[in-house]
Chain length 447, copies 2
Amino acid sequence: MARTASLSGFPEWLPEERLVELHVLDTLRRTFELHGFSSIETRAVETVGQLLRKGEIDKEVYGLSRLQDDEGDTAAKADPHALALHFDLTVPFARYVVENAGYLAFPFRRYQIQKVWRGERPQEGRAREFTQADIDVVGDGELPFRYDVEIALVIAEALNALPIPDFLLRINNRKLAEGFYTGIGLTDTAGVLRSIDKLEKVGPAKVAELLKEELGATEDQAQAALKLAGIRTKDTSFVEQVRALGVSNELLEEGLHELEQVIAAAVQRAPGRVVADLSIARGLDYYTGTVVETILVGHEQLGSICSGGRYDALASKGNRKFPGVGLSIGVTRLVSRILSQDLAKASRSVPTAVLVALNDDDSWGAAQDVAAQLRSRGIATEVAAKAEKFGKQIKFADRRGIPFVWFTDDDGKHQVKDIRSGEQYDADPATWTPSEEDLHVRVTAVH
Amino acid sequence: MARTASLSGFPEWLPEERLVELHVLDTLRRTFELHGFSSIETRAVETVGQLLRKGEIDKEVYGLSRLQDDEGDTAAKADPHALALHFDLTVPFARYVVENAGYLAFPFRRYQIQKVWRGERPQEGRAREFTQADIDVVGDGELPFRYDVEIALVIAEALNALPIPDFLLRINNRKLAEGFYTGIGLTDTAGVLRSIDKLEKVGPAKVAELLKEELGATEDQAQAALKLAGIRTKDTSFVEQVRALGVSNELLEEGLHELEQVIAAAVQRAPGRVVADLSIARGLDYYTGTVVETILVGHEQLGSICSGGRYDALASKGNRKFPGVGLSIGVTRLVSRILSQDLAKASRSVPTAVLVALNDDDSWGAAQDVAAQLRSRGIATEVAAKAEKFGKQIKFADRRGIPFVWFTDDDGKHQVKDIRSGEQYDADPATWTPSEEDLHVRVTAVH
């Protein structure tokens, strides 16, 4: 099924592939709404000034210019009012919260499922246009830590409902890491995080070198930082392991306590789905506490399929702060993998359950009446456009993947044929219903 | 409710407004799928060459350039490989059909609901970023005319299911108009259509002038063209009225017969929703037969809320032609109007039906258990984050628009309170369900 996109980095799905994506989107939406998250969308564009607000963007951004604009397009780079496509949903959401603070009830829970764009070099698992599904809770002034626990549980439930292999949320806490680094005397905590973030790519020896060369760490400090990053437990035993490293720091204690709460709740409510992983750093981003990355077990090279965390300072309006916590699922990354590896499939390729065949060209109106009766009971139905031989009409249904063909003879007697089994029987358009299995397209994991 | 968008022409909705939009989108999707249309999405970007393929674009297009690209952005205008945001869904769909022809079953029925962008001056009913909902049927080589009839009926059914005022599909046929113009000796039929298209804006006297000055029409020819454009009937009587003008032309006859079929079916299956309106021209677009515009009765100044028609030559691959017929609903235009005029509203502002209150901070886990039981039966539920006084927790639910608050006392006795009526009663988390009316958010028209 996997075809090559005609523009590299801009994937498009065939109709039967889109059914898998729709199933993923519908499942996420349903889970998010069951947990009381409201849907919002933000515009696709932000001003360059807004995107740059948090300092340098390390993402490749697409700027916009009107083709018909004679002023020329080069203004975009310099002008903070120029427009650009958003590269994630968190920065636009922060702007939305600040702009609409007077109209929102806090803590504000929202989900947002939209496309985002990054002009990076496309590769497996990384597209230039892709869909993200985000949930966040944002408070006005303060946001209880409990939401960090809740967000992780909601995401685990949402991912669990998808037709994907096992996944694992790898969770850490910035306070824990920063407190520990400070405690061992490494004060450029952002620099240490940046180096630790490279651990999986370059290995511990290289990271130790970076810490010593770039941040002036001693061998002992470098080894202590690496020891912390090596801790990975499926339960709360990481607390003891960190304490055994003998570092004392207030922020470290706060981080330990927070991460302990998340892991303890997850062990109980999402068993096997979460691990405390003290190597997780989340690069240069705006996180201030909980940080999360998620791997698909057996597909680790795909990268994180769901990332995020707590941010205490992303959005503010004068003295008013809006701390938040949120996670973002890489829908396109997941769906691409599901499709390329045939991890799930749709029970049929079209929404249609029934094709109403035509006896002759004049019977189109009567066929529409039958179709309307079926649709009124939620049965997706189309009517043949031409009164070809029945064999041809059946073949048409077969080619489109429609399971049932409806016949009405000249005396008005109705019959329906299951073209998979060949079984044909009398049926009343006012009452006949296909089995629950055939009523709608179902998407299921392939094992 | 109507706030001003922070970027002119880029509307964003509050959560309770988004519920109205979601209802519109869900209703359209449901109707389209009941009629066997498959969902697809195309990428937001096309190459400039693709967008220009049909000659000059009369839409304002947004070109893309990478902000970090040192090459400069000015290439976009000249380079046909440069990227730009799509300005409708028909041109991208035509490209998709040609690219994927080998994977699609024809006639291919698809719906497509996506954002499109036009850099035009924003005004009431016209945004720079807006959502369209399109249905099209495309054939391989040929496409029976019957699909023109079907598409009109499906759209009437879809619009009818929305919480909007009366609407009227105004339908014409290009063959009819072009055949008539040829029959009276006006051979630049595209030029005549362009003039007739201005009828509503400038009036008949000015159009007659244009026809005479720009196209060399005689007074008789101009008056005949205006007479044709003046015909408007709710049934098929337009056929007689056209014949009474005494013009004879083969293409005219073909067009009359086609339009008659559409109107006859609509009179029967969508009574009062359709009018034969021989003034409809659809400007410079690519249509070759049926053309449609749709007005919202009482909101005519909003412009057409649903337009489209038959195109026989939009997509081709070598000698292979893919004729199609389709209609496009202006979702943002409709939703903007619904919201600005309070034509519909949501029964509550959040998906949440129940807030589970906390007795004390240690009861959060037990509260999550109650919530999980309710959610397992499809009841959207959130748990309070803090064990504040019950009055405060009820106030919180009230502020968020949540109708029910759930209490569990220290003995494990459960009660639920309808905070609108104040009624409170014993309830079992394993069986209690709110009324059908309260289970989900409902969006209804306000009369």
